[in-house]
């Protein structure tokens, strides 16, 4: 390697990486900034600093209700998708059954399907069975579980496949029966994967707009609220919610990795 080449790979790559990170954080900076915006008529430009938005986060009518709806749906969808997906992952890794290829395809397809197709086809189904009038909380939940499931399967399956089977054999060798082996060894070792899948599901569900837009009936989730507000000019409190979400999630991830560092797996 020439000296120039070496220098380039040593430093330029890192510099470019830093620039890309700046690009990724640019909107976050704006979200935080706009959460302090003393907003006049122009919703998209910074007018002046104020704490008013933070003091009255639930000011815009319906916004906090939408956040609560999103949290409820996110929680239930995570629960459902994680449970169903984990079972499927265990079946895929630990059991023999017919139709393995078809099963894999069925799990892969939702990840390869554009949301607009998933959302619209689900709406067409609900309409054709005469449910279009009663769409709402339940139909959003059903849809969210559906598109989170595949991601759960893939995440948990990877963790499970990486599990050293000697662990379980050692447990059995040490007088643990199948049940004890599962709950004391297999499950705790796969748990980080299940946790990662749950976090992923929650963020997919909480953030979903497109599929929800087709199947929400009269129920308003936070993304639905923002979409509606964007037509009129968004209230700055939306950025307060965005900032809080960012900080909470960051704290969760950093806290989690700190905990893991304290007690290495």
């Amino acid at each position: 390697m020439s000296r120039v080449g070496r220098w380039v790979t040593e430093h330029a790559v890192m510099a470019v990486a830093m620039l890309v990170l700046v690009y990724m954080f640019l909107p976050i900076f704006y979200v935080v900034l706009m959460s302090f915006n003393d907003q006049g008529r122009l919703a998209y430009e910074f007018q002046g600093f104020t704490l008013a938005n933070w003091e009255d986060p639930c000011g815009p009518s319906g916004m906090c209700g939408a956040v609560v709806k999103s949290l409820q749906i996110g929680f239930l969808a995570t629960l459902g998708a994680t449970l169903l997906g984990t079972l499927v992952a265990f079946a895929l890794v630990r059991h023999r059954f017919r139709g393995r290829a078809a099963t894999s395809l069925l799990i892969f397809l939702p990840m390869a399907t554009p949301e607009v197709v998933m959302g619209s086809s689900l709406l067409a189904l609900f309409t054709s069975v005469g449910l279009s009038g009663s769409l709402g909380f339940w139909s959003i939940l059903v849809a969210h579980i559906m598109f989170c499931l595949s991601f759960v399967v893939v995440t948990v399956k990877a963790r499970l496949a990486g599990l050293d089977s000697a662990m379980e054999q050692a447990a059995m060798d040490l007088y643990a029966n199948e049940w004890q082996t599962f709950w004391r060894i297999t499950f705790p070792l796969v748990f980080p994967g299940i946790m990662a899948a749950a976090l992923l599901s929650f963020s997919l569900s909480f953030d979903d707009f497109i599929v929800t837009n087709f199947n929400h009936g009269n129920t308003v989730t936070f993304p639905m609220y923002v979409w509606g507000a964007a037509q009129r000019g968004i209230p700055p409190q939306v950025n307060v919610v965005g900032t809080v979400m960012f900080i909470l999630a960051l704290a969760l991830v950093l806290g989690g990795s700190l905990l893991q560092r304290r007690r290495p797996a």
Partner: protein, 395 residues
């Protein structure tokens, strides 16, 4: 599992581990072939053999992690071959240790006791950790220990259950040479202290010889020979054993007669004698074998014809073709008139100047150290350096 808590009494016969016609096939491949084996209680038993010969498979069948295709396994006369692993009075030290990464050292060691609902877990674990010299490490996680420490945790975790048989699958394989030697001594000490039967799998012949009371040499799924290290070394039963355990010189010879204790053979014109107890064949063509360190070199006067003294074997007309100085000893390669190269180790006692390449030498050894093997067997079976050499030549 009532008999798990019973302390095995060292030397008490009857709690032997017995394998009868045990066979294991994977598809059409036979990994273990009609194996018969008795491991007496309290023994340090080594299962020695090259990679892929079926050692691990044998061990896993005893542990219950693999089901024999055929045959029975008993401990103390009780058939355990169809029992689940957690119902067997057997524990295993896995080659990869398989420590539970999410549990601390204390809980790893306590695992078996807790599953069996034993009381005084804390006391027993504490004593066991002391035994393996890891007192004070209880709160650490496996990832925070060195390889040797992890190995001792794996040992403690198995031993604390006082199994009737402890299975160790190359437990020292992952350690560097120095730590390995140290742990060999350690393991031997612990085994003597607790008096439990150890079945120790290894492919390191030196390890097997220094630690075990009894060694079974395994090859291609069958046991070639079983005996004490001394027996195996001094009178190997097959060319494989003679090469895998140490080194051997094997010279083609014809049986020509016998006297009171010895079988007499003719090797390329020289008359050799071997004790009848060390002759695996007493007629026809044989391999006459002798260990390199048993042979002495004398300056060859070009075949002075002096008859070997009684009880001595003599091969004349050799030429030194290679000399390597190894500190305590010197290793010679001697080319014989019939083209074969024989190996000789001589102590560097300083009694005599060493030979040089090209020197004419005779080989002499006590006939008692000669063994006779079936000439139908491959003279290079089990000779790893030869295998490496021919492989290298082939590519």
């Amino acid at each position: 599992m009532p008999d798990l808590d019973r302390d095995p009494v060292p030397g008490h016969a009857g709690a032997d581990l017995t394998l009868t016609s045990v066979t294991k096939r994977f598809g059409s491949f036979t990994a273990v072939d009609d194996l018969d084996l008795v491991v007496e209680q309290g023994r340090f038993f080594a299962l020695l053999g090259p990679s892929g010969c079926g050692k691990t498979t044998t061990l896993r069948m005893v542990a219950g992690l693999e089901e024999p295709t055929r045959g029975t396994i008993t401990i103390a006369g009780k058939d355990i071959s169809r029992l689940k692993p957690y119902k067997r009075p057997v524990n295993t030290v896995f080659q990869s240790y398989a420590l539970f990464p999410h549990l601390d050292i204390f809980e790893n060691v306590a695992f078996g006791l807790r599953r069996r609902g034993v009381k005084d877990v804390a006391g027993q674990v504490g004593r066991m950790l002391e035994l393996v010299e890891l007192g004070g490490f209880g709160k650490r996680r496996p990832g925070q220990l060195s390889g040797g420490q992890q190995q001792r945790v794996a040992l403690a975790r198995a031993l604390i259950n006082r199994p009737q048989v402890l299975l160790l699958d190359e437990p020292l394989g992952a350690l560097d040479l120095k730590l390995r030697r140290q742990m060999q001594i350690e393991l031997k000490r612990i085994q003597t202290e607790v008096g439990i039967t150890f079945v120790h799998v290894t492919h390191d012949q030196e390890e097997a010889m220094t630690m075990a009371d009894t060694i079974a040499v395994m090859n291609h799924g069958v046991i070639e020979q079983l005996g004490s290290p001394g027996e195996l070394y001094d009178s190997p039963a097959t060319t494989f054993v003679s090469n895998f355990l140490g080194q051997s010189n094997l010279v083609k010879a014809e049986v020509v007669g016998r006297d009171a204790q010895d079988v007499l053979v003719d090797a390329h014109g020289s008359r050799l004698a071997a004790p009848a107890v060390r002759a695996r064949r007493t007629s026809g063509t044989v391999w006459a074998g002798v260990r390199p360190e048993k042979v002495h070199l004398t300056g060859g006067a070009g075949g002075d014809g002096s008859a070997p003294g009684p009880g001595a074997n003599h091969l004349t007309g050799g030429t030194v073709s290679d000399v390597s100085f190894i500190g305590v000893s010197t290793q010679y390669l001697v080319r014989m008139p019939w083209g074969q190269e024989l190996t000789v180790f001589e102590q560097n006692s300083g009694a005599r100047d060493s030979f040089r390449v090209g020197d004419r030498v005779d080989l002499r050894w006590t006939s008692e150290h000669t063994f006779l093997l079936d000439a139908d067997q491959d003279a290079h079976a089990g000779d790893e350096s030869y295998a490496a050499l021919t492989e290298g030549a082939a590519t």
